[in-house]
Amino acid sequence: MSEALCDLPARELVRLLKAGQVSAVEVLESTLQRIEAVEGRAPSSAPYRQEPADLEKIHAYITLTRDRARAQAEAVDRALAAGEDPGPLAGVPLAVKDIFCVQGTPSTAGSRILENFIAPYTATPVERLEAAGAIVVGKVNLDEFTFGSSNESSAFLPPPGNPWDPRRVPGGSSGGSAAAVAAGEATLSLGTDTAGSIRQPAAFCGVVGLKPTYGRVSRYGLIAFASSLDCPGPIARDVEDAALMLQVVAGSDARDATAARVPVPDYLAALEKGVKGLRIGLSPDYFHLKYPDPESGELREQPINPEVEAAVRRAADLLADAGAEIVDDVPMPNTRYGIPVYFVISRVEAASNLHRYDGVKYGYRFDGPVQDLRDLYRKTRGRGFGLQPKLRILMGMYVSAEQYEKGYYERALRVRTLIRHDFERAFDRAGPYRLDCLLTATTPDTAFEIGAVYGDSVLMQYADLLTVPADHAGVPGLSIPAGLDSNGLPIGIQLLGPDFSEATLLRVGRAFERATEGEAWRQAKPKVLQGI
């Protein structure tokens, strides 16, 4: 297979563009051709019946913004011709998770209730990416309102397939993002992570996903799920492209009070510095923990998939060879409570955030007869929301209602403090471990088959078991590909660091890439690209 423009890294596209060797329009056309080749039938909200061909294609895009993209690409080419600097991401094709508002585009959140919503403004991170010259190719699929770990809960079906095996899920909720990037349907994607929604799909699809520190990237224009947890961040094919993208989106924003006023470092400057002298921890609490048995669904103590564990331990060995100091047996005892805490906190916040969808101001409205306004709310929300939003709203109501809650919400917020303390102790410069980062698996297992878990909301939630603690703690997490399992499916490993330590995580990730660049799995291509 010869490498098409759509398969090149963002930085290489920018270099070729600035050297006048390719045009932004050519890069866009290459991407649109790839979309044509691998995408299959477009997801829609019509009643869905799976067809065999659906399990061979990607179905990542809910909306393709071809005209808008062409106009942007032409503007980049004009700027180049006029000798102007078109920006650090000039001409780079970008897929935006359809949870971000982009002015003039349908912004659906994967839900019928927003199916006809045209955003009147653009989210800050998208605005910054466009200002840097990136070309928005379209809006990609996700779990409805980001509620899920497989992308199957979207109102727009077929669900995205995993490019490595389209009968399997790409993960979620940023499933369309990770699948599109892995299949060359976009060079970069902007995702969001609330419990692992950037890192888990990145791991399943063999790409790089970075959940920045909470507050590192503005949430303005992000359709809210759990406001104390939601983090926008990059999905890319390698660490350097993720660094390049974070550089553009990071930083404070007058329109988001939680976007922290912390200077943005040069993420590329330290990338090649290696890991000599860095302390990298391994924790038994990320290798062996309580989660549902895939057969019975019962919660029990069990180890993660041995192939995934082996990939983590091998990465530790390679990083040690590269000069890092590996610290074993770092206790993270509250990791196992991440999901129960999440079941409470995220539901309370989701129920609150989803009250705004009422059929009055925007979005779907039930158009049959209604008795009064309250009846309109019930009928609109009953038909507009899918099962997963309903489940989250009802749980949020239950655990926050004074007569039922038995202190669950406050208790969850206090256990969240204990989870945060685990990280603070591990990273404390004066403490016993003094870690620069923790190395773990991203997911307990590799990608599962479409339909294998969906419907069991407890088992599905536990797909985020190893990612959700970082969301509770607010700390950054980077998932990078670390090999393929015996079924040829990508394995992801995760680096977790102190607040605002993205530069260090990227540096360690890059060191791992260098240590493994000659390995055979790095040459392997996703199944959907074979024969193209």
């Binding site: 939680t258 409205r365 008795q371 099962l387 489940l391 749980m395 969240r416 607010g474």
Partner: protein, 106 residues
């Protein structure tokens, strides 16, 4: 273990949430809620010292890194027509809703 969320409680939650559900949906949702409660109940067993505060965001927002409060003044939005165009039912520049439930006090 008895069900945390009985039909009675479930119906109350559905009313609070303003959701009209089919029987099939209600059955699925109540079963899943009770399944999730089994996981949530793990939290009851955790020993938490009395001095452990709540965490509302993972990251600690010190004054140095927090955004300053904006001046409290209105700013006209340039795209009001676009916003109105998104409303399901309008008359002129008003958003239309059905009757609002009320009681006559006369």
């Amino acid at each position: 273990m008895s069900e945390a969320i009985t039909s009675h409680i479930f119906n109350h939650l559905v009313e609070l949430a303003s959701l009209e559900l089919s029987e099939e949906e209600a059955e699925y949702l109540r079963r899943e809620l009770n399944g999730q409660m089994k996981a949530i109940r793990e939290l009851e067993a955790i020993q938490i010292a009395d001095d452990v505060p709540i965490t509302s965001h993972g990251v600690t927002y010190t004054p140095e890194i927090s955004a300053p409060l904006r001046e409290d003044r209105s700013e006209p939005w340039p795209g009001a027509d676009d916003i109105l165009a998104g409303a399901p039912q309008v008359e002129g520049r008003y958003v239309v809703v059905p009757d609002i439930p009320h009681e006559d006090l006369s």
